[in-house]
């Protein structure tokens, strides 16, 4: 059974496009990243899956259940962390966490206490006294305390400091090891590349590609860094040139022997040829398809 399967899912806001013809499949137990720039349709996809907005056409199933007809059943097995961590401002943290558990008719106090400890969250404070990072922590606890089968996390790490980001992903990896499917949307590619097994790239409401993060990062393109030269070698298929004093770097998408032959004639003091990271591929290829 797939954790998430969308079938030609489409959402229009009046005439403007939210997402179009989205066919996305996420297997149960996967750690899946959903990458795209702001406004690409990541949140629209997620909000449609959760029944906050209704699709214009197409359909989707979560854990084998229909997103429209079985919304309540789906939500009882899903933990969702919205990108905006907004809660009832006058409530105390522990009351919000308890309210969330009560709405699920579950006693999650033990797990909530454990998570609060790990994330170092003071539950006696009022929501309005919290920083964005701390509100995010409340959001994480509300999404995880009931041990859901599927976690849908929309831009979860914005506002969290690097240490907390690491702790947060450590918790997600532990959950994933126990069988929980994790679906994370982000525009930060490095974290997707680091933690996710599969990822999909979305732009302007359309799914561009969905593959393993390894394959997504593996292309015919190389990042070439040279030291000792200040002018660009005479090569085709060069992109994203960056110069810094006597060193320069560029993305090369042509044949490797031509590159090596050209470099052999240059007075280089250092050279490195590496796989570009996802971020570079994303920035310079998907944006170029515009």
């Amino acid at each position: 059974m797939d954790a998430i399967k969308t079938m030609s899912l489409t959402k229009y806001y009046g005439k403007s496009k939210g997402i179009e013809d989205m066919n996305l499949t996420i297997e149960q137990g996967d750690f899946f990243g959903f990458i795209g720039p702001n406004g690409a349709g990541k949140s629209t996809t997620i909000r449609t899956l959760l029944g906050l907005i209704s699709p214009t056409s197409g359909n989707a199933r979560i854990l084998g259940m229909d997103i429209i007809k079985q919304r309540e059943d789906i939500l009882s097995q899903v933990g969702y962390m919205p990108s905006e961590a907004s809660f009832y401002r006058n409530m105390r943290v522990r009351d919000v966490i308890k309210f969330s558990a009560d709405l699920r008719h579950r006693d999650c106090s033990k797990e909530a206490g454990y998570l609060c400890g790990r994330l170092e969250l003071d539950t006696s404070k009022k929501i309005r006294e919290l920083s964005l990072g701390n509100r995010k922590k409340v959001s994480i606890i509300c999404a995880l305390q009931h041990n859901p089968e599927l976690c849908i996390l929309d831009e979860p790490t914005s506002g969290l400091d690097p240490l907390m980001q690491r702790e947060f992903y450590a918790i997600l990896e532990e959950r994933n090891a126990k069988g929980t499917t994790i679906f994370v949307s982000s525009h930060i590619l490095s974290e997707i590349q680091r933690y996710c097994r599969h990822a999909a790239v979305i732009r302007e409401g359309r799914l561009l590609t969905s593959d393993t993060t390894e394959n997504l990062g593996h292309t015919d393109t190389k990042r070439v860094r040279l030291r000792g030269v200040s002018s660009l070698p005479d090569l085709l298929h060069i992109k994203d040139v960056q110069t810094d004093g006597d060193s320069l770097s560029f993305l090369y998408g042509g044949k490797l022997d031509i590159l090596l032959n050209t470099l052999a004639g240059l007075p280089l003091t250092d050279v490195s040829i590496t796989e570009p990271d996802l971020e570079e591929i994303f920035m310079h290829y998907y944006i170029d398809t515009k």
Binding site: S43, R47, I53, S54, F87, N90, L103
Partner: protein, 262 residues
């Protein structure tokens, strides 16, 4: 149940303030009655002779010299207007506030259907109106006992019943509107309550505008009618009940299908 409890807790400060203010003003008016009563026979005839101004508030048909006449006008303004404002505020914000405060995304991604969400919110509004009325009625009866008046019970209770239905109707209409807005609708809510009140005044002023009494819930809370007839005007009341049902029905339909934006 969880959501009802949550709503009541969120609204308790507002409920406390409105109940205290309305209860205090009603009690104050009742407690000063004995002092005013002695001068009332003169004042009463003066009030009754102010032409259309008297008619606007139904004072031409009420005997100000009697407690019920005095209470009818005074109660009409304090509980009628106060209750209408309170219930309009409750109704207009009950659904919309989640989107305004950006808590809708949190609430509606829990396993609770939109229909149950709207139903529990509606019940919490009704409960708050009931609590306000119980306290206000208790305060009124205590105050009446304190000044030693023994008014007829039936018209008094009918008055309270009429005001209760008015509050429910106002809340229901505002509830319906609340499902369509995602910003604060306080202006709309207060506007509707005030509009209802003034429609009744206009209807009292001229015979040509009498039909307005069908539209405004203040039509069936007219104390002069209730005290004289000892029953509520069913023709106005039935329109009110239809509007109540429409408000609730439209609110539910809209809320169950609307897109919730962040």
């Amino acid at each position: 149940m969880t959501l009802i409890k949550h709503e009541l807790k969120q609204g308790q400060a507002t409920l406390l303030i409105w109940t205290s203010v309305i209860g205090f003003m009603l009690a104050a008016c009742i407690l000063i009655y004995p002092e005013m009563g002695t001068q009332m026979s003169d004042v009463g005839s003066m009030f009754a002779e102010m032409g259309s101004f008297s008619a606007a508030f139904g004072m031409d048909r009420l005997n100000f010299g009697e407690f019920m006449g005095f209470f009818g006008v005074e109660c009409g303004n304090v509980l009628g207007l106060g209750g209408a404002f309170f219930s309009a505020l409750l109704g207009i914000s009950v659904l919309a506030k989640e989107e305004k405060e950006q808590t809708a995304e949190f609430l509606l991604t829990h396993p609770i259907s939109r229909r149950k969400t709207a139903a529990q919110k509606l019940v919490s509004v009704l409960l708050q109106i009931i609590i306000l009325n119980i306290i206000v009625i208790a305060v009124t009866f205590i105050s009446i006992c304190m000044i030693g008046e023994e008014p007829e019970i039936r018209p008094l209770l009918l008055l309270f019943l009429a005001y209760f239905i008015l509050q429910v109707e106002t809340a229901a209409i505002c509830f319906g509107i609340s499902a369509f807005i995602s910003q604060s609708g306080l202006g709309i809510g207060l506007g509707i309550a005030a509009l209802f009140y003034f429609l009744n005044i206009i209807a009292n002023l001229t015979e040509d505008a009498k039909f307005l009494k069908y539209i405004t819930p203040f039509g069936y809370t007219e104390s002069a009618d209730i005290i004289a007839d000892k029953c509520l005007k069913t023709e106005y009341l039935s329109v009110g009940l239809v509007l109540t049902a429409l408000g609730i029905g439209i609110g539910f339909c809209r809320y169950c299908t609307k897109d919730i934006h962040s």
